[in-house]
């Protein structure tokens, strides 16, 4: 059953799986400085084993894009990135004919032949075959990832930004790892790339797309993991300070705010504290640096009120805030 995927897709057999177990993925990612939880390690492992793309969703700044980068680093692959935006089309995502070069080729042919003689019609088919060959093809990220002979990690970033109709462009690539070019035929992958799609969930993606992908939701990390992330990514931070940072951030996330602090903001905050030479966070330090963690004034006010006011006031508010 484990060989089903490659055979099904008519792909070259014998490609060794990249990882032996989810455990190995976890350890490998840790070496690159990315701390995965079980779900993240499993999804990377299964994506490789099942030859399926991974759709990663979650709040902004929780390391969705970073995951693809780290996997690329871990597997020694080239990272090919397709940044999605509204209005993205075939010619930017898949391929495009280099029509300038095609024109040049036609004009050059006229000059070299010397004249437009009566045989021109006979050579037209030759010419057509000639100008629609790979030489005149401009590969865009998707095709490039398929054709590459080196190992590749393909990152399709913020896929929720393209229109629903454009999503369909991706489907052939994602399910069969192939691209059909009318003039050339079908280009199949020689090596299966690992594919990651990220989405900030600004709209519901189509069922067709979701069905073809494994799904990973990266939420804000729990206390231990966030603490570990801070310690790995912020050089020179003491264990005690990292713990305090993680605990305060957890409490802040418990509040009802417009924008909750993301991991990248936690890291910014931790770095700031290290630069400022803070060894332990008290109310004053927290009050002065809260604006790094939170981006809206109303959020900052609320957090300061909830976390930093005197015990009696905070206690009086307890039942309200619980509700």
């Amino acid at each position: 059953m484990s060989q089903v995927s490659a055979a099904d897709l008519g792909l070259p057999e014998g490609e060794a799986p990249r990882f032996a177990s989810a455990q190995e993925v976890a350890e490998g990612l840790q070496r690159t400085g990315y701390l995965p939880n079980t779900a993240i390690a499993s999804v990377v492992y299964l994506a490789d084993r099942l030859s399926k793309p991974v759709l990663v969703e979650g709040p902004a700044g929780t390391g969705k894009t970073q995951l693809a980068k780290s996997v690329a680093e871990l597997t020694g692959s080239r990272l090919i990135r397709l940044q999605c935006y509204e209005g993205l089309d075939e010619s930017k995502a898949l391929y495009e004919w280099n029509y300038r070069k095609q024109l040049l080729r036609i004009q050059a042919g006229e000059i070299l032949d010397g004249s437009r003689d009566s045989e021109a019609t006979a050579t037209w088919e030759e010419l057509e075959e000639n100008i629609f060959s790979e030489e005149f093809l401009l590969t865009r990220p998707l095709l490039e990832a398929i054709r590459s002979s080196d190992p590749v990690v393909l990152l399709i970033d913020e896929v929720d930004r393209v229109e629903l109709e454009t999503e369909a462009l991706l489907l052939e690539v994602l399910s069969d790892y192939q691209v059909s070019i009318p003039e050339l035929g079908t280009v199949r992958a020689t090596r299966l790339p690992l594919v990651f799609l990220t989405s900030n969930n600004t709209r519901e993606l189509s069922e067709a797309l979701k069905r073809r992908c494994l799904y990973l939701y990266i939420d804000y990390p729990d206390l231990e993991r966030e603490q570990a992330i801070v310690r790995t990514r912020v050089p020179g931070i003491t264990g005690e300070l990292a713990e305090q940072v993680a605990r305060i951030v957890r409490s802040v996330r418990g509040l009802d705010l417009r924008k909750l602090p993301s991991v990248s903001e936690t890291l910014d905050w931790a770095r700031t504290l290290v630069v400022l030479g803070v060894s332990s966070i008290d109310a004053t330090v927290a009050g002065e640096t809260l604006h790094i963690l939170l981006k809206y004034q109303s959020d900052i006010d609320k957090a300061a009120k909830e976390l930093l006011t005197t015990a009696n006031e905070a206690f009086a508010k307890q039942p309200l805030q619980k509700h």
Partner: protein, 479 residues
């Protein structure tokens, strides 16, 4: 294993998750690759392949716990191993010694600790935050307090309630806070808050462990299929706003923010890529001159979609209050789609609350302020739609123009007061549209004191809005 998986997929489908055959096959292939004795990895593998939306995750988790509850007993860590490493302070020592002398009997369930011993054990588990110890506490607490009766077709909420009441976790929290208080100096607000959050987190953790333990026993008793049926949870989109429990309301609240963001993005997109305008006859004829009079290239007017003006009248009395709040929140979150939004809150009196939303840029906070700051009672604080309409018409009738869409939120339960539907008829003549959103199921309309059919003739539409899905759909059509 494959049979178990089929049953599990079946259960997910009955709970409302759209699991396709492809995904079922993927899951079957996935469990081929993971060590199935490892609970976490198996759960991850199934979740990755079967669940395609974060909203469905809680449903999946519950179903997983039920279906795979009794497969991992051997994999659970031994309580005693954890104990030695954990730092144990204060009078926790009683629990420790007790546990030492009784380890052999733990799974036999013969030697149940006394309630004092159990309390000490509980305290210790919370101080150390040790999951293994929590499991022991949960096991004994359930045995001792839950009084599980075999064969009763219940979901376990009652057992959970009984166990928690006996454990009295609030008192334990206060005791933990007292012990943790630093000696010799007052606690700063930040320290206190962090400590409280930490212990609260552990208590929530314990609650989950107890819930899992109860569930495990119920599965042993009645089998996974039967239990899954009785604890099936609707996904947040389908929760009935009117009857939501406090936890469900919190869940709705969390779901609302991304929902409104998504809705706003969708509407902007639609406006930008909207349909073409009407045929521009003059330009088409002019254009046709170049093709000898044949109108080959029809011209269209540029569409100028007018943004509607919204006036919301929201019933904020008792049972429909949360519905009104959600709707107001949603309307204001996409207020950029409207020229103007004015909102009024009423019970039997009516008051304008627009300023609350204008003063503050966070709709959630404004909505919270309505109940304290709006002056909405007139006589007795029971809904009186008739009086509300009369007062509204007297004071604000002139603000309703041919560009206004009037939105009334409420169940039309009028407490047998006069309906004054003629006022609504008058407003309807002035306004562009009148919509009535009713959070009650359609079957209950016109039962008892519901006067919805008295008002219905004067509305363009009376819409049933029981859950977020229906609400979202209505709002996106409105804009």
């Amino acid at each position: 294993m494959l049979e178990l998986l089929s049953g599990f997929v079946e259960e997910l489908r009955s709970a409302g998750l759209p699991v396709s055959t492809t995904e079922h096959i993927d899951a079957a292939r996935a469990i081929h690759h993971v060590p199935i004795e490892n609970r976490e990895e198996l759960k991850a593998a199934l979740g990755i392949t079967l669940v395609k939306s974060a909203w469905h995750w809680p449903t999946f988790e519950t179903a997983f716990d039920v279906y795979f509850a009794n497969r991992f007993n051997s994999a659970e860590p031994k309580e005693t191993e954890h104990l030695d490493g954990a730092a144990i302070e204060g009078d926790g020592a009683t629990g420790k010694t007790w546990l030492r002398s009784h380890t052999s009997a733990i799974d036999g369930g013969l030697d149940v600790p006394s309630s004092e011993e159990l309390a000490a054990l509980l305290y210790e588990a919370l101080v150390s935050g040790d999951v293994g110890l929590m499991r022991t506490v949960a096991r004994h607490a359930v045995t001792r307090y839950a009084g599980v009766e075999p064969g009763r077709p219940v979901g376990g909420t009652y057992y959970l309630y009984r166990t928690l009441r006996k454990l009295d976790l609030d008192a334990v929290l206060e005791r933990l806070m007292l012990t943790a208080r630093p000696s010799g100096r007052p606690w700063t607000a930040l320290e206190e808050r962090l400590a409280r959050d930490e212990y609260q987190f552990r208590i929530d953790e314990l609650r989950k462990v107890i819930e899992a333990e109860i569930r495990r026993r119920l599965v042993l008793d009645r089998g996974a299929r039967a239990l899954a049926k009785s604890i099936r949870k609707p996904s947040p989109e389908d929760i009935e706003v009117m009857h939501a429990t406090r936890e469900e309301l919190a869940m709705l609240h969390r779901a609302l923010r991304p929902l409104s963001r998504k809705l706003a993005a969708k509407l902007v997109r639609r406006r930008r890529h909207g349909h073409r305008g009407h045929l521009d006859f003059r330009a088409t004829i002019r254009r046709s001159l170049s093709t000898g009079g044949a109108p080959i290239d029809p011209r269209f007017r540029h569409p100028r979609p007018s943004k509607p003006e919204i006036v919301v009248l929201a019933d904020i009395s008792g049972s429909v209050a949360s519905f009104a709040r959600f709707t107001l929140h949603l309307v204001y979150a996409i207020s950029s789609q409207f020229t103007r939004v004015r909102s009024f809150a009423f019970v039997d009196g009516i008051d304008e609350v627009t300023r609350l939303f204008e003063e503050c840029d966070d709709p959630a906070e404004s909505v919270a302020r309505i109940s304290t700051e709006a002056d909405v009672s007139w006589i007795d604080g029971h809904s009186d739609y008739g009086h509300m309409l009369v007062v509204f018409s007297e004071r604000w009738r002139r603000s309703i123009t041919s560009r206004t869409s009037l939105l009334i939120l409420g169940d039309a339960r009028n407490n047998y007061h006069a309906t004054h539907a003629e006022v609504l008829a008058d407003l309807k003549r002035r306004a562009r549209h009148v919509y009535w959103l009713n959070p009650e199921p359609r079957e209950y309309w016109d039962s008892g004191d519901s006067a919805i059919s008295a008002y219905a003739p004067y509305c363009d539409a009376v819409v049933e809005c029981r859950n977020l899905r229906q609400l979202e759909q209505f709002v996106s059509e409105l804009a």
